[in-house]
């Protein structure tokens, strides 16, 4: 047993952190919220160069994956920097396409017929069309699985394609309903509408539930990174903010809230890594482990947001401070791709 990230994984996280620190990520997020996706897409291209999206795409489609642990490490860094866009949905869509492609490839025509799909779903179809582009950072996909993610697709107007899986049917949405602004304006939501059916059958439903697991894992990772950023920023702030003649960070009431924030994040992290390992192995217990990581990281990040806001005081409640980008994202991430109640139920499911 060696339950530690290796040097390469640590270095990968450090390099993403460095790159996103140097880039104006908050600026890209604010532009994204205003409907200007160009800076966000430029950031996306650089993340692809660093290999982030290839982690979700198999080698036969020009990727390196699937590598759930490395993907979790990367998503935590993207969460730490509040990178805008349908990150989770794109990697989950990749997992969905990969899984269906695999069924198509391994089981041959019979399965394709049963899927009632187009001529060859895989190499000649949607998987071949989208997966290499996802790996290269040239395509953003949104994915909506109403049973797991609710009725809305994230950032459908910015996405190059929106996949919708309802039961055992997957379709490529043709258009979307009007934008439904989120409390986190960087998250742009809309209902996917219409479109053509790509495939149908039990394999579709199975691939969608796999994709929902990947999405839950990636969301948990984002939450963990988000929580760490909130903690780091708040520790820095209370160290320099002075009241009553002392740094407010020297007061016990302040210290203890921050200590609790660190505890919650530190104990969420091993659940995340363990869940990623379980997913990589295709273990039976992966679903329960992902659910445990999701609810724990989501709650920890939301609690970190509340602490960050409380300890910043009124300035934390302003939109001018970039802290708002992190605070507003914590609650939606906690609830996306598996509410806490749904996750807790899955932990105890047999």
């Amino acid at each position: 047993m060696r339950f530690l990230l290796d040097d390469e994984q640590r270095e990968f996280a450090r390099s993403l952190d460095g790159m996103l620190t140097a880039a104006d990520t908050p600026g890209a997020a604010r532009a994204w919220a205003a409907g200007d996706t160009a800076p966000g897409r430029a950031l996306w291209a650089r993340l692809a160069e660093a290999g982030v999206f290839a982690l979700a795409v198999p080698e036969r489609h020009e990727g390196l994956g699937p590598m759930p642990l490395e993907l979790a490490v990367a998503c935590a860094e993207l969460g730490r920097h509040a990178v805008p866009g349908p990150l989770v949905e794109t990697v989950a869509a990749a997992a969905f396409l990969d899984r269906l492609d695999e069924v198509d490839r391994l089981d041959g025509l019979d399965e394709v017929d049963r899927l009632d799909g187009l001529d060859g779903f895989g190499h000649a179809g949607a998987a071949a069309e989208w997966l290499p582009r996802i790996a290269g950072g040239k395509a953003l996909l949104s994915l909506c699985v109403p049973a797991a993610s609710g009725p809305y697709a994230l950032d459908p107007d910015a996405a190059d394609a929106v996949l919708v899986v309802d039961g055992d049917t997957v379709r490529l949405a043709e258009t979307t309903g009007p934008l439904q602004p989120s409390a986190d304006p960087v998250r742009r939501l809309a209902r996917p509408l219409g479109g053509t059916v790509l495939a149908r059958g039990p394999a579709v439903a199975a691939a969608a539930s796999h994709a929902a697991e990947v999405a839950a894992l990636a969301t948990a990772a984002q939450s963990l990174g988000l929580g760490r950023a909130l903690l780091d920023r708040t520790v820095a702030y209370v160290g320099q903010r002075t009241q009553f003649g002392a740094a407010v960070g020297s007061f016990q009431a302040v210290k203890h809230r921050l200590a609790d924030t660190l505890i919650a994040l530190e104990f969420a992290q091993p659940l995340l890594y363990s869940a990623a390992l379980a997913l990589a192995e295709g273990a039976d217990h992966a679903s329960a482990e992902i659910a445990a990581a999701k609810v724990t990281a989501g709650e920890a990040a939301y609690a970190a947001a509340r602490t960050a806001l409380q300890l910043h005081g009124a300035v934390g409640y302003t939109d001018e401070l970039d802290l708002a980008l992190w605070i507003r994202k914590a609650r939606p991430l906690r609830d996306a791709w598996g509410t806490p109640a749904a996750c807790r139920a899955r932990v105890l499911a047999r």
């Binding site: 994984q9 002392a246 960070g249 210290k255 104990f267 091993p270 659940l271 363990s274 109640a341 807790r344």
Partner: protein, 389 residues
């Protein structure tokens, strides 16, 4: 990164499980916190020792198996899964022994450790004083130099099971003129039946007579029972405090087993539509799993040459709060039976949930209060400025 056990570790687990299956008493021993129970648990220590299971992580020369931290974690998982008795020697094994390994002499180790491993000598701690709890460095009991040793004077209190134990270890002020409270303290061991020692039992919140206060009136301690250098006691003691808060006091196996019992209780008793209760059971399961994985990460870090320092304070707060939440959930599942104590003949699970609940309430207090732990986390891990407590 992996969570895989080697074949040798699996074999170790199987060996521990087989031994425990064959030896764990079928019905629970009387409470560890009573005189009869103490004696019964001392016998259990001897049974463990006979097959070298009492101190698996110690070197073989002292009765251990030289087990790695990972193997120790495995043993503890099996131990609690088997429902084995509480450990009457825990203060000696978890607090004094690590101090002796780090700061003691070969002579002290050879003299003290084997009898501790056998359960022949059970140790109590003598830290707190009536005026010194969290602010331990303010302690007033003294050790005065005399020929060939030291004379102890003063009062120690809240010493667990000292009314039944054989010997004690603690800190004494040997240099009242030292400039700061942490200086001029000395770490000493002494017999509880020595001349000048008076032990007064104190009943506890759980009704057990398992606290005691110690009155020390010119108790002679020879030089050979000083651990580390005289005047260096604070530094010596803090290395054991870290052990107590860290992994060794409350191994993950304890909570993994408790969470499994809680889940079984929930499956038997709960109304499936009561999702509020279900969520709390899930949180206990998740918390126990997180604690176990956190320990594996710590063990991996140590195996890779790292160490655990102030991080042990994260552990302490986490397990103590988990323990309370877990037991509160169990009591809620038991409804009207939840309050039945271990002395009630109709108590579910021999009253272990009620007993465990009361004891869990002490968790945020002992081994350094959680307030002190949060100060340590904030100052040493987050780098926040020191302030008034």
């Amino acid at each position: 990164m992996d969570l895989d056990f080697s074949a040798a570790e699996d074999a170790f687990r199987a060996e521990a499980r087989a031994w425990l299956t064959a030896h764990v008493p079928e019905s629970p021993l009387p409470s560890l916190e009573t005189e009869d129970g103490f004696a019964a648990h001392r016998e259990w220590e001897r049974t463990l020792f006979a097959d070298r299971w009492s101190v698996v992580s110690w070197p073989e020369e002292y009765g251990g198996r030289g087990a790695s931290i990972l193997r120790w974690l495995i043993f503890e998982e099996e131990y609690y899964a088997a429902g084995a008795p509480g450990r009457v020697s825990q203060n000696g094994i978890n607090l004094l022994a690590p101090t002796l390994f780090e700061h003691g002499t070969d002579e002290q180790r050879a003299r003290v450790l084997p009898s501790m491993a056998r359960g022949d000598v059970v140790w109590a701690q003598a830290w707190s004083e009536p005026e010194s709890g969290s602010d331990l460095a303010s302690l007033r009991s003294t050790a005065e130099r005399t020929e060939g040793g030291w004379l102890l004077r003063g009062q120690k209190t809240w010493s667990s099971r000292a009314a039944f134990a054989d010997r004690a270890f603690g800190l004494f002020r040997s240099d009242p003129a030292a400039g700061r409270p942490h200086q001029g303290l000395t770490y000493l061991m002494f017999p509880l039946d020595a001349d000048g020692v008076t032990v007064r039992p104190i009943g506890r919140l759980d009704g057990k007579p398992a606290f005691a206060e110690l009155f020390l009136d010119d108790v002679f301690v020879p030089d050979e029972d000083v651990i580390g250098a005289p005047g260096q006691g604070w530094r010596v003691a803090m290395s054991t405090a870290g052990n107590e808060r860290g992994l060794t006091l409350r191994s993950p196996g304890r909570f993994t087993a408790a969470a499994e019992r809680l889940t079984a209780l929930w499956r038997e008793n709960a109304d499936p539509s009561d999702t509020a209760l279900r969520d709390r059971v899930a949180d206990a399961v998740i918390g126990a799993r997180a604690y176990r994985l956190f320990a594996y990460a710590g063990a991996s870090r140590i195996a890779a040459g790292g160490s655990i320092g102030a991080e042990s304070s994260l552990n302490k707060v986490f397990w103590s709060e988990l323990d309370i939440a877990l037991h509160e959930t169990a009591l809620d599942l038991l409804g009207p039976y939840g309050e039945l104590s271990d002395e009630a003949t109709e108590a579910p699970a021999h009253g272990s949930w009620a007993e465990g609940h009361t004891f869990s309430l002490a968790g945020p207090i002992y081994a350094g209060t959680n307030e002190i732990q949060r100060d340590i986390i904030a100052e040493r891990l987050l780098g926040l400025p020191k302030g008034r407590r």
